[in-house]
Symmetry: C2
Subunit: 203 residues, 2 copies
């Protein structure tokens, strides 16, 4: 990897870290892009070359998760029930968090705190989730040999699965100082959710 790319990655992370710290310190809305750019010593124009919008800072994690979900779907056996396959995707997302570097973990926990303190950001993430669901629905429809446009069940399967992810990450009943707490919580949610459905409902 060349010097150029390494440098880019470094500023990308620097922006992310600076932004999160500023957000947590003085709030999301009252932090301007100029401030963030300033504290990393780049122009705000450059900021927008790294992140398409201020919001996008918060969505980087989401994008990562989407990729994992899609990737997992491709590797799961074709005859596995769709919902089960999606659940495996969710577990992969969780695993990815567990295995990430300490720096990434810190970033992730900051992001979580940020969302907790600023519910409007949850909305953002959920909005992005709608796009993710459309993409997942295409995959699941192919799997189930149905038409994405007409098959409601496909969309229900995807929507339910993604709901689990969201519920698992929100409402953590005690302070999350460690990803382990989050993972634990996520496992509980998955367990609960899986028991809620009739076997074979997702064929």
């Amino acid at each position: 990897m060349g010097l150029r790319e390494r440098k880019k990655e470094k500023t990308r992370l620097a922006i992310l870290d600076a932004a999160f710290d500023l957000f947590l310190e003085q709030g999301y809305d009252s932090t301007t892009v100029d401030q963030i750019a300033g504290s990393v010593e780049i122009s705000s124009r450059t900021f927008f070359r790294y992140f398409t919008s201020k919001d996008h800072l918060v969505l980087w994690f989401h994008d990562q998760g989407e990729e994992i979900m899609l990737e997992t779907l491709r590797t799961r056996p074709a005859d596995e029930p769709s919902f089960t396959a999606l659940i495996h995707g969710l577990r992969e997302v969780v695993r990815d968090i567990q295995l990430s570097t300490p720096e990434d973990t810190t970033r992730f926990l900051k992001l979580r705190r940020l969302m907790e303190e600023n519910p409007h950001l949850v909305g953002l993430s959920v909005a992005r989730g709608a796009a993710t669901e459309r993409r997942l629905a295409v995959e699941i429809a192919a799997r189930r040999n149905v038409d994405v446009m007409t098959d409601q069940r496909t969309h229900l399967i995807v929507a339910f699965a993604m709901s689990i992810l969201r519920v698992g990450f929100e409402c953590p009943h005690r302070e999350v100082t460690d990803v382990r707490i989050l993972v634990e919580r996520m496992e509980e949610t998955l367990e609960l959710a899986q028991n809620a459905f009739r076997p074979g409902w997702d064929v």
Copy 2:
């Protein structure tokens, strides 16, 4: 109702109609607030006194639905399973659409077309949905005699129910020229969803 209030309601609807027509004609993004305000002959400053943001034009329906859901929850018997109670809420939302005035129906259908052509708006609506879910969760937690902060099942119940609404409204497999098509579709979705769960999972 005084002249003042009647006039206000009239401009409110005028703004909504003008905006939707402009959006459908030339796209959401390329329509400015100034244009909308101009075509109703008010200043853009006044526009922002009727709608807190350009986005809010699209969310007015959502807000209405939320109110119906909350209202319904209050009237349902306390010993009814939570999920069932929410489903009744969904049915009330559908009923409200069926019973609305022709003007409102037209507005609603335009909104639907708008969302179809502009997926980004679906995201907006979903984002607002996150806030709605939090409010519904409070009610459901009270019903189930659990703590909103800690009980995951409550959040799952709400999230699943709201997913149904969303799926029912999106992906309509044929052009929606009549609310009846939509209602029909919604019934199918509800049916499908209700059969997906184990009886008693939501106690």
